[in-house]
Amino acid sequence: MINFLKLISRNKLALFGGILLVIIFVVSFLSPLLPLKDPDVIKTSDRFLLPFSEGYLLGTDHLGRDLLSRLLWGTRLSLLVGISAALISATIGSILGTIAGFYGNKTDNVIMRIIDVLMAFPYILLALAIVAVLGPGLFNAMIAVALVNIPFFARNIRGVTVTIANKEFIDAARLSGMSNFKIIIYEIFPNILPVIVVTISTTVGWMILETAGLSFLGLGSQPPQADLGSMLGEGRSALIVNPHTSYVPGAMIFLIVIAVNLFGDGIRDALDPRLSKGELVKPQPVTQIKSNGNVENKSNSFLSVKNLTTAFEFDNKLHLASKDVSFDIKKGECLGLIGESGSGKSVTALSITCLVASPPGVIVNGSVKFQGDDILKMNYEQIRELRGNKISYIFQDPLSTLHPLIKIGKQLEEAFIEHNHQKNKEATLKGKELLKLVQIPNIENVWNSYPHELSGGMRQRVSIAMALTNDPELIIADEPTTALDVTVQAQILSLLDTLRKERGLSVLFISHDFGVVSQICDRVIVMYGGQIVEEGKTENIMSKPRHPYTSQLMECVPHIGFGKRKLPTILGSPPLIIYKKEIGCSFASRCLFKKDNCLNEDIKIVRKGDSEVRCLYPHE
C-alpha cells in the first residue's frame, strides 16, 4: 500500500489530481458543517447575482439561491452518485465477467451474448429508457447509469479472468481439490482486483458525467435538490443572459472529472507492470550514450570494440548487461559470440550500431570503431547510414522480427530504397535477385506473401537476403538459427558460410550453441555475466576449453551419434548483474573448481598465445 502510494505520488500529475480530488471531497462532504447558506432557500429578488456579489461568493441562480452552497451540496451528491454507480456496476459486472471467464463454454456464451446485446444499444438511450421505467429521480438515474455500464465491466473482467483461469496455478488449485467457488475467491479474485480497481478509477469520471447528463435532461435529481447536472440544466435556460449559472457547475464537473482522470491514470500506471518495466516508453532510434568518451582505441582493425559497457536503467539505477567487452573482427573473419541467455551477448551485438532499446538501455562506456570511425561518436544520421548498409543484422525468430503486415517483397526492397534513393523498380530487381541467391524457390509467390505464410526456414532465408541487400561489409547474426529445426539449421548455416566466403564478409555470429559456432566461426568469444571469460581460435577452444564455464557449456552440446545421453546442465542460474563493485569471479558460485581466493579479487583477463581467459585456475 505504501509502495503504491509512493508510485502514485511519483507521478506529479496524478498527485495533483489526487490532491484536487481530496480537496473537493473534503470540502463537499463537509458542506453540511460549513457556514453556508441553505442551498434551497429562495430569494427571488436576489436572483442572477453575479459571482463576488455581497454575501454570495459565486452569485445566485434564477431563484436567488446561493450558488456556492448549491455547488458544494451538488458536488457532494454528484460524487456520491457517480461513485455508487461505479461500485454497483463494477460489482455486478465483475461477478458476471468472472463467471463467464472462469466457467467458459455455454455459461460464457450465454452471458457474453447478453452483454453483446446490451452493448449494441446507445447507452444513453438505454439509461433514458430505464429512468423512464423507474420514474425520474437521482437514485433511479444512478441505477440506470450503473446498469448500462455493467457490460463494460463484464467484458473487461472476463478477458482478464480467461487469461488467469488458464494459468498453471489455477490448474494446480483444481488438482488440489479446491472448489470452484474457493478458486474464484482465493485465486482468481486477488489477481483481477487490480484490473477492477483500474477500471473503476478510469470510469468514475465517466459515470459522474453520465449521471450529470441524465440530470441535465431533467431526469435526475428533483427540485429543489441540486446535483451538478441539474444545476447545469437549470443554468442552461439562462445561458445567454446569465452564463455564470452555467459556468459554475460546468467548471466543477470539469474539475472533478479531470481530477478523477489524472488520479485514475496514476493508479493505472502504478498497477500496470509494463510501465515499471519501461515498456511504455518510446525506444529512441539510437541507444543513449553516457560514455565519458575516454576509452582509447587505437586499433586499426576492421571492427574494434573496446571496453563496451551497456546497462539498463531502472529507477535511476544502472543494471549492467555487459561490462568492458573488447574484441576485434578482421575483414572476412567470422567471430562467434557464445553464452547462455542473459550473458550479455545480444546486448553487445546490438550495441555495435546502438540498437539497444533506450530507454532503458544506456551505453555507459566504450568505443566501437568501424573502419576507423567510432560509431558511438556518430550522430543519428551517420549511424542510420551504416545500418542495413555497411553493417546489417540477421535476427533470431523472423516471425517476430519481420513486419507481420507488410509483404515480403516490400520489406526486401525497403533497405535498398532507404539507402540508394532509387526507384522501386531497381529495388524489386535487386530483391528478387537476393531471394534467388538465398535459394528460395517460387520467388514470385514468396515475394507477395506475408511472413506468417512462410515456413521458418524460408523466413530466415528472407532475413538473410534482407541483410545482404546493400552488400554489407559486416553482418551481425544474432542467433539466426535458434528457432529452426536441425536440418533447416544446417542448410541455413551452410548458406551463410558460403555467402560470407564468396563475398568476403565479416560476421559476428551470436549463439548459445557450440555445435553451431564450431561449424562457421574462425574465432570464438565466450561471455558470462556480461563479461568475456574466454577468447580463442575455434578449434583451440573446441578441443581445449580453458575456462570452467566454457567446458561446462560445451558439455551441454548434444553430439550427433552418441545416442540418448543425459545432457549435463550447469548448476544454478546466471547472475543478475547489478552496478556495484563486484568482487571476485562472477561464475564462482556455479563453478565446480572454485577455490577460496576466487572471490577475493576481481579476475583479470589474461592473454596466453592467441587466446585469452578470465580465470585464476584455467584448465591447461
Partner: protein, 313 residues
C-alpha cells in the same frame, strides 16, 4: 464471403435479443401513448378507447410477436405522436444523425490516431505534453457543457457559426452550408472520443515501438519518419480498429446530447422525445434501427480488420 455470411448469421441472435430488450423495457415505461395523442384534453375514457383502437389492450407477449412479425416484414408500425410511419421518420432523421455522427467518428478516428501517434513518437517532449494535456481536458469536459459554451462564444458572441440546425433556412442548403452548421456539433461530439482514441493510440504505438520488427526496420536503416508511417502506423491502425468500433457506439450515444444542444434533426433527439412522449412504436423501431446499425457497423469493422490484417484468417 463465407465469413461475412457467418458473421451476419451470428448477428441474428444478438438482433433478436435486442428486439426482446427493446420491446419489453419500452413497454414497461408507465404512461400510455393515448394520453400523448390526445394531449391536454385526454380523458380517462377516451384514453381507454384509443388504447383499444391501437391494440394496446392485448397481452404483452402477444404484442411482441405481432410487432416482431411486422418488423421482419420491414413494417415498424406507425408513430402515435407523429402520426406517420415509424420507418419514414427514422429514415428521414437517420440521415442527419449519420452526417453528424459520421463526421464526428471520422474526426475522432483520424485526429485521435494522428495525435496519439505523434504524441507517442514525441514522447516526453513539449508536443507530447501539450497533446496529453489537451486530450485530458477534452475527455473531462461534458459534451453538453462544451456545446453550450461553443454556442455562446462562436454563435452568439462572435457570430461566426450558426447556433443550431442543419441547414440555413434561406440562402443555404448546399454543402458549404452543411459544413458551416456541422463544425460545432461535430467537434463537440468528437472531442471525448478523440481523446479516448488518442490515449489508446499513444499507448499502443509505444508498445508497438518495442516490437522486434521495429528494431528490424531500424536495423535496416529505415528513416524514423518511414518507421512511423510504414511500420508503426500500419500495426497501430489494426490494433485500434476494434476500439474505433466501440467508439462508434459512444459517438452515437453522445449524439443524443449534442443533437439536443444544437437542435440537430437527428435520431437521438427523436428518440429522447419519443421516450418522453411514450411513443412506443417509434422508440422500439428507432432503438432497434440504431442498434442494428451498430451491430452491422461492427461487422464491417471486423471485415475491415480481416482485410488489413492478413494474419486473421
Amino acid at each position: 464471403m463465407n465469413y461475412l455470411l457467418q458473421r451476419l448469421l451470428s448477428a441474428i441472435p444478438v438482433l433478436l435479443g435486442i428486439t426482446i430488450i427493446v420491446f419489453f423495457i419500452i413497454s414497461l415505461i408507465p404512461g400510455d401513448p393515448a394520453t400523448a395523442i390526445l394531449g391536454s384534453y385526454a380523458t380517462p375514457e377516451n384514453v381507454k378507447l384509443l388504447n383499444e383502437q391501437l391494440g394496446l389492450d392485448k397481452g404483452l407477449v402477444q404484442r411482441y410477436f405481432i410487432w416482431l412479425g411486422n418488423l421482419v416484414q420491414g413494417d415498424l408500425g406507425r408513430s402515435f405522436a407523429l402520426n406517420r410511419p415509424v420507418l419514414d421518420e427514422i429514415l428521414e432523421r437517420f440521415n442527419a444523425t449519420l452526417i453528424l455522427s459520421g463526421t464526428a467518428f471520422i474526426l475522432c478516428s483520424v485526429v485521435g490516431v494522428l495525435i496519439g501517434t505523434i504524441s507517442a513518437f514525441k514522447q516526453y517532449t513539449i508536443t507530447d505534453k501539450i497533446i496529453t494535456f489537451t486530450v485530458l481536458t477534452g475527455i473531462s469536459l461534458p459534451s453538453f457543457f462544451l456545446g453550450m459554451m461553443m454556442i455562446l462564444l462562436f454563435a452568439v458572441n462572435l457570430q461566426w457559426l450558426p447556433v443550431s440546425g442543419m441547414y440555413a433556412i434561406y440562402g443555404g442548403g448546399d454543402f458549404l452550408d452543411l459544413i458551416h452548421h456541422l463544425i460545432m456539433p461535430a467537434i463537440a461530439l468528437a472531442l471525448v472520443a478523440t481523446g479516448v482514441v488518442a490515449r489508446i493510440t499513444r499507448n499502443s504505438v509505444l508498445e508497438i515501438l518495442r516490437q522486434d520488427y521495429i528494431r528490424t526496420a531500424r536495423a535496416k536503416g529505415v528513416r524514423e519518419g518511414n518507421v512511423l508511417f510504414k511500420h508503426v502506423l500500419r500495426i497501430a491502425i489494426v490494433t485500434i480498429l476494434p476500439i474505433l468500433g466501440l467508439q462508434a457506439g459512444f459517438v452515437l450515444s453522445g449524439s443524443v446530447f449534442i443533437e439536443i444542444v444544437f437542435q440537430w434533426p437527428g435520431v437521438g433527439r427523436m428518440l429522447v422525445d419519443a421516450i418522453l412522449k411514450r411513443d412506443i412504436l417509434l422508440v422500439q423501431g428507432g432503438v432497434m434501427f440504431v442498434a442494428a446499425c451498430y451491430v452491422l457497423f461492427n461487422i464491417a469493422v471486423d471485415l475491415l480488420q480481416r482485410y488489413l490484417d492478413p494474419r486473421i484468417k
